[in-house]
Amino acid sequence: MIPFEYLRAGDPAEAVAAVAGRPGAAFLGGGTNLVDHMKLGVAGPDLLVDVSRLPLDRVEETAGGLRIGAAVRNSDLAAHPLVRERYPVLARALLSGASGQLRNVATTAGNLLQRTRCPYFQDVTTPCNKRVPGSGCSAAGGYTRYHAILGASEHCVATHPSDMAVAMVALDAVVAVLGPGGARTLPLAELYRLPGDAPQRDTVLEHGDLIIAVELPHLPFARRSAYRKVRDRASFSFALVSVAAALDLDGGLVRDVRLALGGVAHKPWRATRAEAELRGGPATEDAFRRAAEAELAAARPLPGNAFKVAMTRNAVVATLRALAEEGR
């Protein structure tokens, strides 16, 4: 790990100024992703500005929704009574990620901004466009078990590993950002980018942009929501595929639905096509399958991950079916 300086910021503005003023600086949340990457030589900031102790550690009730401070720890968020009551999908997504000890440290903002990655990204001895733009993509013709089937480019086929973000994208979360130019908000779904020809950038944030909170809107039917994660082992494993869903039923019909997928793309993938297919239609197994297939029509599996198409379809069907049964 290359040596660096460490600064504990006193307030958000100071943190923003400290990072914005130095090209090699980075914010430090819990450090569970950044410090790991520094050890691997994947990241090499020369200044860490610790934002984990900023007074951004509260979960506040808003009009029917919640405002989650950027420094709220994953374990506290998962255990929060209002989260469990109003957004079970979020609590379950959080609990399906990492381990208890990691969740005790990981912050809300850090979780959102953990790097989109693949095994080659983490191995500095191999070419990787995301790590070293223009160096090539080792996954092309290489190992692609964990890689994307949707929205990838020839330059990068990595996936975003967060579980929490998949749930938040399904819930129409909005991110509050304080940047060198002032404060702004943007929908979480728009925070993330597809790789295109600039896979080095995971998000649209600029250097010095500090996430200060995530806002979850009022969404009463999210009380009936679920998160399902398919993975090799039941802890410590990133999703091969995951599904976040909330279902609003009107008798046998789907009044409204939220659906997002993890492990399939460079970003948490909001399944808008499937949602459109489902809205107003019957809540049946066949309809769920057709909706999943509509979303997956654009899938371009790689040699090593063809299984993901069926796995995603089946996971969507199983998740919606369970929610529908719960509602009967």
């Binding site: 208890g100 000890q101 082992r233 494993s237």
Partner: protein, 932 residues
């Protein structure tokens, strides 16, 4: 370089103020600066939980937290708990929730938090709560039970009397275990290796100037510095093999990604790693040899050009005409294939060495993580040129090994040599990445077999073609273990005719080493194939086994390879498992659930035979024990073994105590120090109970002979009348007349300074001591997601007389979970260019609490003909479970026409098998709506 910063925090209740570099992890701060070494490091990437400490009331992973992040925090480590007295610690001790102890401090921290948050946790809560703490030894059973017992002492199972608790535990629970990384003599320098990232190629440039110039770097060694000074690095069993030499560092060619190229010595490990990054290396890559099947014939691409072939070993037993006829003309002939993926031992503690050479005395002292201190001493002497009498090896606690640390590795030996050259103290602790790419891999086997059967399903004969991938060079006993697979392939079955071909081939991959049952493939391949045979001939796999398994009246039985099988109970264990599982009922339920709910249940059975304590496996076929009576009357047993989790300090003390009829507490075991103990085999190859146990018995017998004579003199009666009785030597005919061990010891010591009442006992193992077991399990495969859940797991085993039932069950449970890992999760992967993809425990998916089933045990105790009637059983659990779980999943899949012939059976492979079945046969019935 960035400035050092002042941090202040409270550690275990005491205020602490120190200067640190911002990059120092909290773990290193605690271990290196504060010398609080209970907190262990096993992955340094947040996966294993060994480094768990408590910070401001919540557990965190101290490997991923920077010391500066803990500024102002209140930190607690395992040393700050109430040692062995805390309720959770007591429960871990009582429930045998500890083996090597490397994971224990982390379990104590996390378990404590769990109990605080959930005072009455369910089993599921406990498993969820602890799923961030990996344990490679116990299979988690004892740990989960311990947390439950700590929460509710009344609910703890009562029947523990038969199995004394382990004496190793006290120091491990108090955080006072001494693993090699805990050894840090003053002046210790730190070693890091530069390793090849290329699988095969020519080194064209290696420039170390910048690394040497870095402040704090003491030396940088390359092949030119060390190779000419190195003696033979190969392990004892391979010393005389004709093959290319093994040298400390790659000189002009590299043969696998991970091969060491240079060694840096620096003031601390961060600096050593910095210096490694400064070495400039260029390797001209060549196409690597990766596919073992193709490598056999390949004469263009060679791992070693000078050998002309990649074939390392070949052994063929002839197919006699009778067998050939059977294989061609039998009423039923079935071919089957079994492929095992590359696996890793992945002990929680990686390899490591601290070696000091004192040029003035000419003595080399090394602390090692090893299963075999005396062989380590000989190897270090050979390689460094320091005479064996001047080499001392110590190995206090060893954090798991499972075969990896039987023979001293190339890297440890290189470090010892470098210490000799520099005349300093060098420490090398293997990183997890090195452990998974450069220490040793295992189980890369392919078997193709043909079975001939009559109309009734009786096996007439079989042939096995076995190909093993040995990697870039073989490690240790492996070169000799391969042919053994064919030798014991017919196992516990009545198979009159058998022949095999064994081939071992070199590839540009990490060398193959020993892993818990180096010949496990005999069991794995046979048992997987028998299920395939059963499906092919349309017979239930239990029925097929019943028709062919050897019954009690058929023993002793001479296998086609002339090995003699006796004192085993395969048929009984099979029936025990069938009864426990309620086999006919499971089959009915399986059909009903498929028909009514579309669910896929599977049943798997595997019978394993474990060749233990093998008398032909020099030099680990024998052992020596020394017993000494101390002046206070206690007995010290000096053994060549080490503390690697098997509980040797407990079981061997039990043996000695029973032989001498003294209190267990009066016996102490000293091991893991070549200066204090006689030469011996260490632990491994399932040999401790039989070989070391018998050496202890021989020593005890010798000691008794001497003691009886002394006592006879004392009591004025003939020696034949003296017997040991509850801690004294007594006159058989006069219960009142007795002399204590202390008095006898004093009598002897009066003969002169240094005189002691002591005796040496030796034992050499007979050709083979077999133990046997049958594993059975029921699984459910999720038809949509391809995941597997183990519903039940039963083991019926016969390891002869058990010294300690809890230790036996612990060994089996640990092996079973490793087998489950191999069947479902674990795989070491390379990509098409031979680049390692499995560089950490995130990728190498060692099972967690959530994958570990509760295991139901049945013990049958058929004594072996060795002195204590024991049989070795340390390894068989892994082999049995690999086959049993595979068979259960394959059984489930077969119901819908899906087939698998290799492990691991992860969701991707299972869904792929479904998809292939779907394209072959009509689509499996859509899942009917679930009953509501």
């Amino acid at each position: 370089m960035a400035e050092r910063m002042t941090v202040e925090m409270k550690v275990n209740g005491r205020p602490v103020r120190a200067e640190v570099s911002p990059r120092t992890s909290l773990a290193d701060f605690l271990r290196e600066e504060r010398r609080l070494t209970a907190t262990q490091l096993a992955c340094e990437e947040g996966v294993c939980g060994a480094c768990t400490v408590s910070m401001d009331g919540a557990t965190v992973l101290s490997c991923l937290v920077l010391a500066v992040q803990a500024e102002g925090a209140e930190v607690w480590t395992a040393e700050g708990l109430d040692g062995a007295a805390a309720p959770l610690a007591e429960a871990l001790h009582a429930e045998h929730g500890i083996q090597c102890g490397y994971c224990t401090p982390g379990i104590l921290m996390r378990g404590g938090e769990l109990l605080k948050e959930q005072p009455a946790p369910s089993e599921r809560d406990i498993r969820l709560g602890l799923c961030g703490n990996l344990c490679r030894c116990t299979g988690y059973a004892g740990i989960v039970e311990a947390v439950a017992a700590a929460a509710d002492p009344a609910a703890a199972p009562g029947e523990r009397g038969a199995a004394p608790a382990r004496r190793e535990d006290e120091r491990l629970l108090a955080g006072r275990g001494e693993f090699v990384n805990d050894v840090s003599p003053p002046g210790t320098l730190h070693v890091a290796f530069l390793r090849s990232t290329v699988a095969a190629g020519r080194i064209t440039r290696l420039e170390t100037g910048a690394a040497r110039a870095l402040e704090g770097v003491v030396a940088v060694f390359t092949a030119a510095d060390l190779n000419p000074r190195a003696g033979d690095m190969r392990p004892t069993p391979l010393l005389n093999a004709a093959e290319p030499p093994l040298l400390p560092l790659a000189a002009d060619r590299v043969r696998f990604a991970g091969e060491p190229l240079a060694l840096v010595v620096a003031g601390d490990r961060y600096l050593a790693a910095d210096a490694v990054d400064l070495i400039e290396v260029e390797i001209e890559p060549e196409p690597p040899v990766l596919d073992p099947g193709g490598a056999v014939e390949d004469t263009d691409r060679l791992v070693y050009a000078e050998t002309g072939s990649n074939l390392y070993q070949e052994l063929t037993s002839p197919i006699r005409p009778k067998l050939r006829r059977a294989l061609e003309d039998a009423p039923q002939v079935v071919r089957a294939t079994s492929r095992q993926q590359r696996q890793a031992n992945a002990p929680l503690e990686t390899r490591g060495v601290v070696a000091s050479y004192d040029p003035d005395t000419g003595e080399l002292v090394a602390s090692l993580s090893t299963q075999n201190p005396h062989e380590a001493k000989l190897a270090i002497s050979r390689v460094s040129g320091v005479p064996a009498e001047q080499v001392r090896v110590t190995a206090r606690d060893v954090g798991g090994s499972f075969g990896l640390k039987v023979w001293t590795g190339r890297d440890e030996l290189t470090v010892a040599l470098a210490a000799r050259v520099l005349g300093r103290t060098l420490k090398w602790i293997e990183t997890r990445q090195e452990n998974l790419t450069a220490s040793g891999h295992a189980r890369m086997d392919v078997g193709e077999a043909t079975f001939a059967l009559d109309e009734q399903g009786r096996i007439l004969g079989c042939h096995l073609d076995h190909l093993e991938d040995t990697g870039a060079y073989p490690l240790g006993v492996v070169g000799k273990a391969g042919p053994f697979v064919g030798m014991v392939f017919t196992g516990p079955y009545r198979i009159p005719l058998h022949a095999f071909r064994f081939r071992s081939v070199r590839t540009n991959t990490c060398p193959r080493g020993a892993y818990r049952g180096p010949w496990a493939f005999a069991t794995v391949a046979r048992e997987q194939m028998l299920d395939e045979v059963a499906r092919a001939v349309g017979m239930d796999p239990l029925e097929l086994r019943r028709r062919n398994v050897l019954g009690p009246d058929e023993l002793p039985y001479t296998m086609p390879t002339r090995l003699v099988l006796d004192h085993v109970t395969p048929a009984q264990t099979l029936e025990e498992v069938a009864a426990r599982l309620d086999y006919p009922e499971v089959r009915l339920r399986q059909r009903r659930l498929l028909a009514e709910e579309g669910r896929l249940i599977g049943v798997g059975i595997a019978i394993g035979l474990e060749p233990s304590s093998i008398g032909t496996m020099q030099p680990i076929d024998r052992d020596t024990a020394r017993l000494r009576v101390e002046l206070d009357g206690t007995i010290t047993a000096y053994l060549a073994t080490g503390a690697g989790g098997q509980g040797v300090e407990t079981t061997m003390a039990q043996v000695v105590a029973a032989e001498l009829d003294v209190d267990l507490d009066a016996v102490r075991v000293v091991q893991g120090d070549t200066d204090a103990t006689p030469y011996g085999r260490g632990t491994g190859a399932s040999g401790t109970a039989v070989i070391t146990g018998s050496a202890c018995r021989a020593a005890a017998a010798e000691l008794l002979t001497m003691a009886k004579e002394l006592a006879a003199e004392h009591l004025g009666v003939p020696a034949e009348r003296v017997e040991p009785r509850r801690g004294v030597l007594a006159d058989r005919q006069d219960p009142g007349a007795a002399v204590s061990w202390a008095e006898l010891a004093k009598t002897v010591s009066a003969h002169g300074p240094g005189e002691r009442l002591e005796a040496l006992g030796r034992y050499k193992a007979p050709p083979m001591t077999w133990s046997n077991a049958c594993h059975g399990c029921v699984v459910e495969v999720d038809r949509e997601l391809g995941t597997v859940r183990i519903e039940r797991y039963v083991v019926a085993e016969d390891c002869g007389r058990m010294i300690n039932a809890k230790v036996v069950e612990g060994q089996i449970a640990g092996g079973v979970l490793q087998g489950i890992g191999g069947a479902l999760l674990e795989e070491v992967r390379y990509d098409a260019q031979g680049r390692p993809l499995t560089r950490g425990l995130a990728e190498y998916a060692v099972p967690t609490t959530l994958e570990a089933p509760a295991i139901e045990f049945v013990h049958i105790e058929t004594p072996s003909p060795t002195p204590g009637g024991h049989k070795g059983m340390g390894q068989g659990g892994a082999a049995g479970a690999l086959a049993c779980v595979f068979n259960a999943v394959a059984d489930a899949l077969a119901q819908v026409g899906a087939r698998v012939d290799r492990t691991p059976l992860d969701p991707a492979r299972i869904l792929t098998a479904f998809a292939e079945a779907g394209s072959r046969s009509p689509r499996p019935a859509a899942r009917p709506p679930s009953p509501s």
